[in-house]
Symmetry: D2
Subunit: 305 residues, 4 copies
């Protein structure tokens, strides 16, 4: 098993530590002939880039993407696409001599590997998600028929977005952090993508999102609310999941992802008061990767488009 | 990608339709020398067998398991373990001429494959989960140090279990159904199992559980509640997830799974008023498969036990 | 990794020991709507069945195939196809108390697993190949445009087939065995199947054939002869491989497989003087599985047919 | 399926075109705590580097390796190891306007993808093998108990190595090329590595070597010679394969690989008269990757070392 690979037929393999020289992704299995350039990828990464607002980490990264392979004269060739993003504003010194930080997986890595990269969480840092977003931008090209939009619907239990910036400011000054819930809707997915039993579209979306740092819960469509009602109850206005038996129905796919508050309040390092803010573009990227992968799988097994 | 395979190093491949001659599972990668016999497997399947109480489907299945390979003189040999369960009480006639049933994935299969087995949901039937439970019983042998227990904690929004049987009776007589929430706790998992990034223990558990019929949501530890609080809030008494950065911490792993009410109220066929009742043993089986797989993966990469 | 699984998008997982109750295969990822019945599969198995001539083992097996899932009203449904063949003429007693037999992998299994099934080689027996041929018969349905034909071209160093039966008789009476070389030609493969670098069509064919019992060598097209000539040498009449850079060219694909003589001369049990005789249908089956898998992969990534 | 990934538990994913900015490999699943630095890798790459002798291509590449992740203070951390080698001496202009070159997979890529990178064979160039050798150098650290040595045993049909340089000179001046046969011996492999049926050690070695550019045949131990003899024939002095039933026996593993003469005689570009010369280090690398992978797999399933 490739621990750092995601996907079946369209795969991404990511690498890189938060404070190493660079991070990157290799996207394999991408269909040939798609128009791809750095600008396309960078516009998506920009959405999650730290240092762009008062709400997020003070780390400054230009996040310039280099396409090192798989593209010739602006089009994908069908060979692996190697993407690299240099870590310009890495500050390993900030972390020197730091003991394992609670809630940062430092101890977990030490338990598993008996060794760890202490520099800003290494592989477990949110920095790694930049590579996912870059790969997700490639995946979007594979599914032009699909629109994917994710956004915060709750912050610290508050659903009224007009109150969020005040909450963020308060959290920053108090050295506190806030949890959040992101909702993602994928429209334009034709009926028939996905697979029964162990590659169900909803199961793969759940894995993709639960694998994002700080995520503690994933629900599809009605989600946990469905676990609390009767079958006969009036379901009017209830969100459908867009997935039945693990296969897309043609309706929009709706999922919700819960991000815990970052554990790093009151300690050294540069962090986001609400990681969910930057989680939305990562959710979009992971959803794009799952859907693009299943489009190819469906075409492969069923000859469908 | 093998659509009906689950796992990396310890894998199960299941097959069979609800009303075909049999269902089964092939468990591959199981370590050699483990004591295994039919009785061990059947005791776990008995937990989910229909027809055992007023709460579940009227279908009567003895669920006798045949071990067709991989075991010699009561011990696993390291070769694939083929398990078969015959469908004794199949009644395909009950479903003849039935149109695709809403919420039963019938239409989904037709959309994807252009063909479907109309007999009781075919592959999408809860019947398939018997094969998962059988494979899960084998997985339990790989992780004797771990105890896995799942049970209903809510039914139709009611957390007081003393009221459940009355609710079930009412639902049966009204031809109604009830959603439920299952909680699963895995104790004894040593620190270090799981893998960062794309094979995170929590991500794999989420996929394993979201892939169970009727499941609409999965949460780890604090789950969605974490998405609604501040980092500074007193976390005393709050359940930890037992997983940090995708790797087990040594604490009990806690997850909750939401089952929607079955959609089959008021139509032909034999069904459970609350599928969550039978969902618990399936959740246990899937958790056992994920943990056993990661024990072997950890031993493989890190030489750990 | 599933040790007993073969293929990427179209996969087979086989199970069963030579003298257990049955052997079988689960074929997953097969496209829906293909006409499939037991007779179709049995005609291919018949080609490799022992007891059909003086040349092969005295074991008598009717090799009746049961299709346990994945087919409805004579057509594949897209769900896993479970195939089972009962071991009717198993004679475990013949092998009781036998020490590990040289060249039968008995010692190898003991080394690896610390335990083995002593009955007729268990999993390592040629009996297992019946399951591969059954799965290969399904794969043939996926590639109707392709014709695959394999046959002996050398036996014990003799290329003149008119002398073979005499050699076999002599070997039988002397308790001796003979090596052989099988050539397989796949015609009708369109240009473009296969994949560069690590899923090259020739690499996958090599693995598929080298994994057959008693095989010690595989060559594509000119094979080892190419390693002994100059680039400028007249290549007229030289067989092309039908594969360039790991991708099919549209020309017939030609490969040759070397089977060693069975090691079982002069010991207890029932065996073939020349296993290569029965190797040809197995080579055909493995080639069919590789080509069908790559047809689906090509369609998936490139949308090609 | 990841087309450009190799391995099960220890995997490498390679990327890069011959005349793009760089090539590279991501090695995933490498155990933690192994000493690794650029010098170790470069010494192995140096063995296959062009421009080092009269026998090989005139292309001059320093082949400096950059380790971009997975190593901290000189030791592997268990996270993915990203290796990059810049293409310094790329000369895309040399290939501008070139039609697809016979025997260079140019046409094959065009057939498959409908587009190709015309610069020096792109992904199909021998240049890609530098990434494999780099990954192989990492794999060697995983199996310190094993010694792997490969070398030419025949060139253009000539087994007497004292005549080879003269043959090379003659071929260069005549614009001709020569085939060759490489033999590889792996000593120190303990009994028990490998897996029966579809992950047989010999099958995986065959795939690994057949996937190397220009390779047309692979044989294990006695190879094709075994296909031409009787079982009773005196096997004294005959090379054993070191593999029985797909599992290592503890004896040295011996395999032979046939490289065809490069097809590029008399055309534009810089090429090797005998690619087999540079093939030996690539064979060693692929063998190291297979053995390291199976060491981890064996430890995973059987707890063995």
């Amino acid at each position: 098993m490739s621990i750092n690979r995601f996907g079946h037929l369209l795969t991404m393999t990511t690498w890189g530590e938060s404070h190493g020289p660079a991070i990157g992704a290799v996207v394999d299995g991408c269909p040939p002939g798609l128009q791809l350039n750095e600008k396309w990828i960078e516009q998506w990464i920009a959405k999650r880039r730290p240092g762009t607002s008062a709400q997020v980490s003070a780390r400054r990264e230009p996040d310039r993407v280099q396409i090192l392979s798989g593209v010739f004269e602006g089009r994908t060739t069908g060979t692996p696409i190697s993407l690299m993003i240099e870590n310009v504003d890495a500050r390993p010194a900030d972390y020197e001599g730091l003991p394992p930080r609670l809630g940062h997986a430092d101890q977990a890595y030490e338990n598993k590997y008996g060794i760890r990269d202490p520099r800003g969480g290494g592989r477990a840092s949110a920095r790694e998600t930049a590579a996912r977003v870059a790969a997700g931008a490639v995946a979007r090209l594979v599914i032009p028929e699909v629109t994917i939009e994710a956004g915060l619907v709750e912050m610290g239990g508050e659903a009224d977005s007009s109150r969020w910036s005040a909450m963020i400011e308060a959290a920053k000054s108090a050295g506190d952090s806030l949890g959040g819930i992101v909702e993602c809707v994928a429209s334009g997915v034709p009926a028939g993508w996905g697979a029964p039993v162990y590659a169900k579209l909803d199961a793969e979306l759940a894995a993709a999102c639960m694998g994002i740092n700080a995520v503690k819960g994933v629900e599809i469509g009605e989600g946990f609310a469905a676990g609390r009602r009767k079958g006969s109850e009036n379901v009017e206005g209830m969100r459908v999941s867009g997935i039945d038996g693990g296969i897309s129905t043609g309706n929009p796919i709706v999922l919700r992802v819960a991000f815990k508050p970052t554990s790093s309040f009151g300690i050294k390092g540069r962090h986001d008061p609400c990681v969910a803010t930057r989680g939305a573009p990562v959710v979009e990227a992971m959803v794009a990767l799952v859907l693009a992968d299943h489009k190819l799988l469906h075409r492969g097994q069923c000859g469908g488009q």
